[in-house]
C-alpha cells in the first residue's frame, strides 16, 4: 500500500492505496470526483487532464503517490457548488463547445492552462496547436476553438466578443 497526501480543490486529502493507483483513479474512485475522465489508456486523448501545481497534467499517466504535497485542481474545483461558472466553463456553454461532454473537462482545464501560458488573446491557429493533446470525437473542434478564444478574453477581463459574460 502507498501513502497518498495532497491538496485537491483546496482541501487536504490523504489515503492509503495500492501503489498502482493512478491519479485519475484516486480522484474518481477514492474521492468520487468523477468529472475527470479516462478516455484512451495511451496518454493521448486528454480527457483526464487536471492541473497539478498550476500546470496541465494527464492524470492517467502519474501515480497518486507521486503527488505528495502537490496542489491538484479538477473540473469540480473551478466553481462553487451553485455558484457562477468559471469564465472558461461559461464560454463552453455559450458557444456550445461540447456534444457528449466526455472530452470537455479535459478541454476546459487544458484551455485554462493555455491562457496561463499564452495569454488572453488567442488566435485560432494557436488554440488548435495547443490542443494537440486533447481529442474530441463529436464536435470537429470548431466550437471548442471558439469557446476557448472567448473564454480566454473573458478571463482577461475583456468582453467575449458578441456577448459579454456576466
Amino acid at each position: 500500500m502507498s501513502a497518498v497526501a495532497m491538496t485537491v480543490n483546496g482541501k487536504a486529502v490523504t489515503g492509503d492505496v495500492d501503489p498502482r493507483t493512478l491519479l485519475v483513479q484516486f480522484l474518481r474512485e477514492h474521492l468520487r470526483l468523477t468529472g475527470t475522465h479516462v478516455g484512451c489508456d495511451t496518454s493521448q486523448c486528454g480527457a483526464c487532464v487536471v492541473h497539478v501545481n498550476g500546470k496541465a497534467v494527464k492524470s492517467c499517466t502519474v501515480f497518486a503517490w507521486q503527488l505528495e504535497g502537490a496542489d491538484v485542481l479538477t473540473i469540480e474545483g473551478l466553481a462553487e457548488p451553485n455558484g457562477p461558472l468559471h469564465p472558461m466553463q461559461e464560454a463552453f456553454r455559450e458557444h456550445h463547445g461540447l456534444q457528449c461532454g466526455y472530452c470537455t473537462p479535459g478541454m476546459i482545464l487544458s484551455a485554462i492552462d493555455i491562457v496561463n501560458r499564452k495569454g488572453n488573446e488567442l488566435d485560432e491557429h494557436t488554440i488548435r496547436h495547443e490542443l494537440e493533446g486533447n481529442i474530441c470525437r463529436c464536435t470537429g473542434y470548431h466550437n471548442i476553438v471558439k469557446a476557448i478564444a472567448a473564454g480566454a478574453r473573458t478571463m482577461g477581463g475583456g468582453s467575449a466578443g458578441q456577448q459579454a459574460a456576466e
Partner: protein, 266 residues
C-alpha cells in the same frame, strides 16, 4: 499493471544503489514512457525508483561554449527557457515539439535519452549537436551513446545527471510527426560548428537514431539546401510499419534534411 514496490531516494547515490541491488528495477523520471508501458503490461518492473525527490537534477546553465541541462528538466522548461532560446534555439524548438503541452509538463530530457525510443526527438538533438551525456560515473559522447532500439551505453546502475550541448553556428530540427501520437515519423536535426557538420535522423532507422554521412559530406562543401538536391538514402535499414514504409521514411529523410538546412541558414 503488474505489482511493484516504489522507492523515493533523495540522492543519486541512493538511487544508483537501489538500481544495483534490486532485481528488475526501473527509474521513474517524467513517467510518460514508463507508466503507459506498464499500463499496457509491456513492462513490469518489480521496483520503481522515483527520481523526483533528488535535488540538483533540474536546471539549465549556459557557459561560454555550451549549454548544460539537468536530466530531470522538463521538456516545457527547455522549450521556454530564454537561455536555450538564445544559445541553441533549435534545441528549444525541438523540445517544444515533443508530445503535447501536458506531456511536456512532465516528460524529462534524461528520461527521453536513457530510453532511446527510435521515434523520440531528443536523441536526434544529442547526435545532431554532438552532445555529451554526463552520468553518475562518466561522460559519454553522443556518438558512442545510442546503441540500438531502446538501447544505450548506460550500465545497469548508471544514471544520467546532465546533458551538455555545444553551442553551434547554425542548427535546425524539422519533424514530420505521426498525427495521433505526435512521435517523430521522421525527424532530422542538422548543425554546423565551424567545419563540423552533423545530420542526425530519428524515427526512420530500424535501429534507432543515426547520422547520414553522405549528407554531411555534401554539406561540408557548402552548407545550403542545394547541396542536398536529389540526394537520397537507401530504404535498406529504415523501419517500416503501419504508419509508413521503409521507402517512405527514406524519402522523408531527404525531404526533411533539405528543409532543416534551409531553416538553419534562414
Amino acid at each position: 499493471m503488474y505489482e511493484f514496490k516504489y522507492h523515493r531516494p533523495t540522492t543519486v547515490r541512493q538511487a544508483a544503489g537501489l538500481l544495483a541491488r534490486q532485481e528488475e528495477a526501473k527509474l521513474l523520471a517524467g513517467g510518460h514512457t514508463l507508466i503507459p508501458t506498464m499500463k499496457l503490461r509491456l513492462a513490469g518492473p518489480k521496483h520503481i525508483i522515483d527520481m523526483s525527490k533528488i535535488e540538483g537534477l533540474s536546471g539549465i546553465e549556459a557557459g561560454a561554449r555550451s549549454v548544460t541541462i539537468g536530466a530531470m528538466t522538463k521538456h516545457n522548461e527547455v522549450a521556454t527557457s530564454p537561455v536555450v532560446q538564445e544559445a541553441i534555439p533549435a534545441l528549444a524548438s525541438l523540445a517544444s515539439q515533443i508530445g503535447d503541452p501536458a506531456v511536456r509538463h512532465m516528460g524529462t530530457i534524461g528520461g527521453s535519452i536513457a530510453n532511446n525510443d527510435p521515434n523520440a526527438d531528443y536523441p536526434a538533438a544529442c547526435l545532431g549537436l554532438g552532445a555529451i551525456i554526463i552520468t553518475n560515473k562518466r561522460r559519454i559522447a553522443a556518438d558512442e551513446f545510442f546503441k540500438g532500439l531502446f538501447e544505450t551505453a548506460l550500465e545497469p546502475d548508471e544514471i544520467i545527471t546532465k546533458v551538455q550541448f555545444p553551442k553551434v553556428n547554425k542548427a535546425a530540427y524539422v519533424k514530420f510527426p505521426n498525427p495521433a501520437s505526435r512521435y517523430a515519423l521522421v525527424g532530422v536535426f542538422v548543425s554546423k560548428r565551424g567545419s563540423e557538420i552533423r545530420v542526425a535522423v530519428t524515427g526512420a532507422g530500424a535501429n534507432g537514431v543515426f547520422r547520414v554521412k553522405s549528407f554531411e559530406e555534401a554539406l561540408k562543401k557548402r552548407f545550403g539546401p542545394k547541396s542536398l538536391e536529389g540526394m537520397t538514402i537507401p530504404a535498406d535499414g529504415m523501419g517500416g510499419d503501419i504508419h509508413g514504409s521503409a521507402e517512405y521514411r527514406a524519402h522523408l529523410v531527404g525531404v526533411l534534411a533539405r528543409r532543416a538546412v534551409a531553416a538553419a541558414v534562414a
